[in-house]
Symmetry: C2
Subunit: 377 residues, 2 copies
Amino acid sequence: MSFAPLLNTTFLRACLGQATEHTPIWLMRQAGRYLPEYCATRAKAGSFMGLATNVDYATEVTLQPLARYPLDASILFSDILTVPDAMGLGLSFQQGEGPKFEKVVRDEAAVAELAVPDMDKLRYVFDAVTSIRRALNGRVPLIGFSGSPWTLACYMVEGGGSQDYRHVKTLMYARPDLMHRVLAINADAVAQYLNAQIDAGAQAVMVFDSWGGVLADGAFQEFSLAYTARVLTQLKRHGTDGAVVPRVVFTKGGGQWLPEMMPLACDVLGLDWTTHLGRARAVLADALAHPATDGQAVRPTALQGNIDPNVLFAPPEAVRAQARAVLDSFGTPHIDAARPGVTHIFNLGHGISQFTPPEHVEHLVDEVHRHSAQMRR
Amino acid sequence: MSFAPLLNTTFLRACLGQATEHTPIWLMRQAGRYLPEYCATRAKAGSFMGLATNVDYATEVTLQPLARYPLDASILFSDILTVPDAMGLGLSFQQGEGPKFEKVVRDEAAVAELAVPDMDKLRYVFDAVTSIRRALNGRVPLIGFSGSPWTLACYMVEGGGSQDYRHVKTLMYARPDLMHRVLAINADAVAQYLNAQIDAGAQAVMVFDSWGGVLADGAFQEFSLAYTARVLTQLKRHGTDGAVVPRVVFTKGGGQWLPEMMPLACDVLGLDWTTHLGRARAVLADALAHPATDGQAVRPTALQGNIDPNVLFAPPEAVRAQARAVLDSFGTPHIDAARPGVTHIFNLGHGISQFTPPEHVEHLVDEVHRHSAQMRR
């Protein structure tokens, strides 16, 4: 497969700890319901999964935010639950209710039936990756993604979203052996899934550990972090075009475990808004100054995040002030082109809300570019 | 007012950094729906607020868990939303839906109407405190409580529970001046409310900052922590019997901000299950070894928490193993009777679930007492 040369390399360079002219920005869920054009395409598609499984629609909505805002990256339009769906659990989306699985995985028999799915069942995702990459035509890089093994397990055991994670934690505390089996299968499935996205044209990959933060200290390390690590060690480092494919890991609510994430074979760690970026940067800088001697080549060197998406409900001037505050909290940008440093990729600390006024996003993107360029002068 | 002498002083001593024979344990929401006898009383009362506003019923349910388990403290049966209700916002509980306010506080006019309520409207709470203290007859101490200024504001602005805190954060980011006015009123109301509970017989007080953890770094310090501090500096230090009344502050999701909580004029900091108790203890030990020279007498010297309440769904042996793991994570208990140290009060990291099997709680309480006594030998 060959694709057009990449014109905006800011995001990929920042992922690898390289100095950039400004701080790159993209937004989790940037193709979403806050955009009227997204809602129009979704209406044509009939349903969320109708949108995600149709290559043309998925391409169309992925590109929509780029037509409005000078974002520095795009992300595949899909859902984190495609993998358990391919495992045969029967995913559906009830109107206004979030995802639901027909089958839940709560006992030995259900766990015994689980297996890494045939990746052919996820062909529609890989086709979308290739289609989007072509449509982007080198404008910005395309990020592929997956849910983390633990986050997928939450949905598989709960059968949908949850407030208290009662079923998945019951299984974890009562039958840790079964939970480990689920997680091992999930990890290997996620690794194959992300590698297939890389082969299809993804220029970076992100693991969303959306529910890692609901775990207790100790349980997080054992049931989430270990399996994210298992995914990462299986990932291809290069795309079909030979370029390095950076890896992003985002554990919502995981700020306290940052030191324990440092051995992960990823390039970028995502943070939510509860973590001070400057303090997190110090953890990465320290690791960079004292490299581990275990021979592992890939280490976190960039932070991604972390403005509260609710900031976007405030008037433009407040949005701009909060954007500056996040940039300033990271501190003086890394500007030495001769060596890698700790870099910052601006993002939200959570997916953008459907109630966001689209014009406020314009102010956010503009202020991040403007202020971060000024900080480098 | 005079009350029977206190027989079990373990909890109060641990609050003040004094050595105890075992680690005291009580459970957030220990009088709750997981107990069939609670459900029976609630059925008689007709509604949740019917239960909370009736002195006899509130006394009855507060004592129910003590009849089952050798807990080391009791906590007033009430709701954190009594204060905004007394402000005239009209609290009600829809069946299975959580709290709802008739009036929401989202604009300048609504904020202008707010004031510290007449404490006479909360007489039913203070009467319950006195009634419960009498009924306890010195068996264990009685903890009074309130929501934090920020947590109350969340409900007042959202009008009930929320998934995204969109309205309260919009007000905060768009009109910080209005939010500061709400929080100042809340703080002064909470201080009066807790002082009246102390006068009525509460032997310790706890501030529940249940939603502090949804704030961004920076916003937490400005909109939650500062107002919890404002409450604490107004609190009475002694009860009518002359005994010191320890203060507990619990910010769910606040583990990362522990160092910034150290200047709080409280005795105990609560932690949820995401924070490693041993690491938190080191923060408190360091502060104890290097006392601030600002003349403030009250400083955090104890940690309260932090087992995941979902552990209680596992079989008894797993419950016991997890209880030991939490005790062990705190480390060797403070045993020097001659000087204060950092102490541990065992609790859940969140209120107990209504689905908890009551007999599992027996195993938890027993194992905490047994293992923590053994750790001291």
